[in-house]
């Protein structure tokens, strides 16, 4: 009995990725029910149940009991000061740093929130950023929503029409929208724009590289392999530096790219190499019979890949791609090193403002919180997709 309770107990708190055997995972949501319901027999009172749960999960042996007490002690030492700093002693409103006391100075965040989100984007035009992000979010939700009858169409629109509309909105200069140069873009919206633009460019490139690496033609295979391995072998930061300082050297005199575009090119090349490896793994996971069946009904290489192989491979690698997108979203902060003002860059700039000098802790904790919420939500999504794929394939 104790054994079973412990087993179910771990299953409950185990919300994190389950990379166990497929059948095991698929069974888990079902196995969860009894633990919260009537696993302990309908006769057990609530106190009795609690007592058993404590016994099984916190005090199963003298060693475990000691560890539990020690952990509680450590938490008791660490959490109250943090809580006091973040809430009790914190200051939430004020014009400059003279209001700050011993606790966190959230007044700084409140004062700078607009910059943290929009950077130096012209204040009167910020609705355009909101609208562009809303469009992207809407279509992304449609594309990921499993019961959408026109999902393929949504995905197509997401990677073709949406970027065009969003770019038009953000850049302006037409249809009566005032022009906003990209060096005024910044803040969290820049991280999102960079991530989206990079995925849109890198995904097709990744597919081409993955197919190229599996090609029969040695020249194509070798050049794709070399490209992938080279980019996976160097840090993203060096690729960004290369895009910034080396790219202009390789273009004719007078032709210059916008700094933002250069960063997107660097990010896309880098991420495409990672996408390529993920997609290649997906292609390898397609049974040979699928290729043979495609060839047997008279499909050529491209037809077979477009209609039979890639759709299945993509379904296999969606979690891997979402994980790479999460990494990409986190890595867009690297553009702050090469002189773009993303959220991290804006925070770094704001803590040098004389009004709010030296409030690095507050600024970075706030940025970390934002990134955590976004990335955690995405990783939960990736987990759900993974589960659905597992249960569909069994």
């Amino acid at each position: 009995m104790t054994e079973k309770i412990a087993g179910d107990g771990t299953a409950i708190m185990d919300g994190a990725p389950i990379v166990g055997a497929g059948s095991d995972t698929a069974a888990k949501p079902v196995a969860r029910r009894p633990a919260t319901g009537k696993a302990f027999g309908s006769g057990a009172t609530t106190t009795e149940r609690m007592r058993r749960w404590l016994r099984a999960n916190l005090f199963s042996s003298p060693l475990m009991g000691t560890l539990t007490v020690l952990t509680l002690l450590l938490l008791g030492l660490a959490l109250p000061p943090i809580f006091r700093w973040a809430f009790l002693d914190a200051v939430f409103e004020g014009p400059n740093r003279s209001v700050c006391g011993a606790g966190a100075c959230w007044a700084f965040i409140a004062d700078r929130l607009e910059q943290f989100v929009y950077g130096r984007y012209t204040p009167a035009e910020r609705w355009r950023v909101d609208l562009a992000l809303l469009i992207l979010a809407g279509f992304a939700a449609l594309a990921l929503w499993p019961r959408n009858p026109h999902r393929t169409l949504s995905v197509m629109l997401l990677v073709t029409l949406c970027p065009a509309v969003a770019a038009l909105l953000l850049v302006g200069g037409v249809l009566g929208l005032p022009f906003v140069p990209t060096d005024q873009w910044g803040g969290l919206s820049l991280n999102i724009i960079l991530t989206f633009a990079t995925v849109v460019l890198a995904l097709p490139l990744g597919v081409v590289l993955a197919l190229g690496r599996r090609s029969q033609l040695p020249v194509i295979r070798w050049s794709c392999t070399a490209f992938i391995e080279m980019l996976r072998g160097v840090p993203l930061l060096t690729v960004l530096f290369m895009a910034m300082v080396m790219l202009p050297m390789f273009l004719p005199e007078g032709v210059t790219f916008d700094r933002l575009v250069r960063a997107i090119i660097g990010l896309s090349l880098f991420v495409a190499a990672y996408f390529a490896e993920i997609i290649r793994a997906g292609l390898q996971g397609i049974p040979k019979g699928q290729y043979e069946a495609a060839a047997a009904i008279g499909l050529g290489f491209w037809g077979a890949h477009r209609l039979i192989v890639l759709p299945q491979a993509f379904r296999l690698v969606v979690p891997g791609i979402v994980n790479t997108v999460i990494d990409l979203f986190k890595d867009t902060t690297l553009v702050s090193i090469i002189g773009l003002f993303d959220l991290l860059g804006v925070v770094g700039q704001s803590i040098k403002d004389p009004n709010w000098l030296g409030l690095g802790r507050e600024g970075y904790v706030f940025a970390a919180l934002i990134f955590f919420v976004c990335c955690y939500a995405m990783s939960l999504l990736s987990l759900r997709i993974e589960r659905r794929i597992r249960s569909a394939s069994h």
Binding site: G9, Q216, Y291, E292, S336
Partner: protein, 382 residues
Amino acid sequence: MAGKSLKGGSSLWPMKAPHALLLQGVALLIGGLVIGWFAQNAASNLARRSMELDFGFLGSVAGFSMPFQILSFAPTDTYFLALVTAFANTLLVSALGVITATVLGLGLGVLRLSRNWLLSTVSGAIIELVRNTPQLLQIVFWYVGVLQLLPLARQSLPFGDVAFLNIRGLFLPAPVGGPWSSALIIAFFASLALVPLARRYLAPESRRSGLFWLAPPLLLLALVLSIDGWSLPALKGFNFVGGMVLPPELVALWAGLSLYTAAFIAEIVRASVETIGKGQVEAAHSLGLKPWLTLRLVVLPQALRLMIPQMTNQYLNLIKSSSLGAAIAYPEIVQIFAGTVLNQSGRAIEVMVIVMGVFLIINLAASAALAQLNERVALKER
């Protein structure tokens, strides 16, 4: 052609030889044209600045000093020596990071797997928090949000009476080398490289060749014995003298790299052990193995096989991420070369080729070494 090496179905659509040749020829031609166009642009750009592609600048005097180095470097030294020094700094922080990340990661992973609800929840919360925030943000947070807010030297945080933490860094006791110490350090590292080679080529069959592995620990022991006492940091005036100091840049980068990688290693440990499955553990229990023996004889050997390739990736990522030190001015290879040297010399192409080349070499060497390790532990199937 190597038809057998192709996986999947590509060979289902055989291409006639002339077609294949034509297609590859076209690909080569387009690639060549693009590269040629780039090269021509680069040449004319360089000519306009009256420069040429030349790595000779590595021999000229650097003229800048580094805030921190483990090799000796002076402003009068050459760019090449700056490269070597920055490279050593990169290796230093990577090595420190790999060690602490492994220890921390294994610890967190074991806690995460614990049947104790509190332990596994707390470690799970730490892991998720660390995994879902950008690494650069963490490094900058440690630097700006923690280390730069530390007290001045006079109000240092003491650890015992031997180590002190303040705004200038972490002050630690340093061993004072005896007359033989430096020779023994070299001998120790040489033995680490030579013993596997000697075992392989001198006595591949003999069982006694395992005794060669006694050499590195013995040398290490001799090294410890050769130390001439310790130099302790002590407060004199406004700063500490004696001992050694790890500057805040190094500490922040070290902390950021280790913690981030540790969270990923913990997840790898958890996933690998969970993949082994309940059946194996129950079988071991039914054979009468105690929990510790189950772990040592049944779970770990199997989990290790699954873990090693993934750990390799994490270590390589850590080495690459050490470049983030550029954000907090830790003098590693990107900061020194893509920053200082590039600004001073204006040689964009050469500098970027060198920096990327160095990382490619580190990466290839590390992955080759770890691939060999993997081969040794991998399951030998029929």
